[in-house]
Subunit: 123 residues, 2 copies
């Protein structure tokens, strides 16, 4: 039998949790994780020294604040934040987001505070 | 100004091409590309020696044939095919698919034939 090959339904995974800003691992490939997360309100300004991050909006919309401008990201759209670029995700209403990033990525990047989630749950 | 940070609208990118089985690069992060591709009909049996591949269905549905079973993958669902696992994508009707895979990944993996696309277009 072929191991570890399963179809993942994104909406079904999103129904399994309600917390905001706590990414859940839903897939793993090469050196990266696929994560799902729910955003609401403001996160924290941070950057990642060595990792580029992809944010794909599944539901709702988000504002990705950069130091010189804001980007609005809507369902069916994604944005890639390159390493070193300071950013702050903001969601005025709840947004459901798929993340694609290296396994080493910490959600708050260079910042450590009450929003930091060092060990992510797999669902 | 913060460079190279743009929102990508998946549907808009998909409107820019019509060919089947010719992945287009729409994003780049870390060692990977984000690609969009349209499937119709049967592809070829192949595997990738050193790369895991993610297929996220945007529109339509696909059947991912494995040697011991078939997986149906629908919009809002994804499947990760680990390195070494033989697979053949099949789409009875046209399917639009987002791929996430290492930059080194060749679409036909270990096989080289008329379906092989050695140099991918960026859109």
């Amino acid at each position: 039998m072929t191991p570890h090959v399963d179809v993942v339904n994104i909406a079904e995974k999103l129904r399994q949790f309600g917390e905001h800003w706590q990414p859940k691992i839903v897939g793993e490939l090469n050196d990266s994780f696929v994560k799902l997360v729910k955003f609401q309100g403001e996160f924290v300004w941070h950057h990642h020294d060595a990792e580029d991050e992809l944010f794909l909006i599944v539901k709702g919309s988000m504002r990705m604040r950069l130091r010189d401008r804001d980007l609005i990201v809507r369902p069916g759209e994604f944005v890639i934040i390159p390493r070193g670029v300071e950013h702050m995700p903001v969601a005025d209403e709840e947004a459901h987001v798929l993340l694609f990033e290296p396994k080493t990525t910490l959600n708050t990047g260079n910042v450590s505070n009450e929003r930091t989630v060092p060990k992510l749950e797999r669902i």
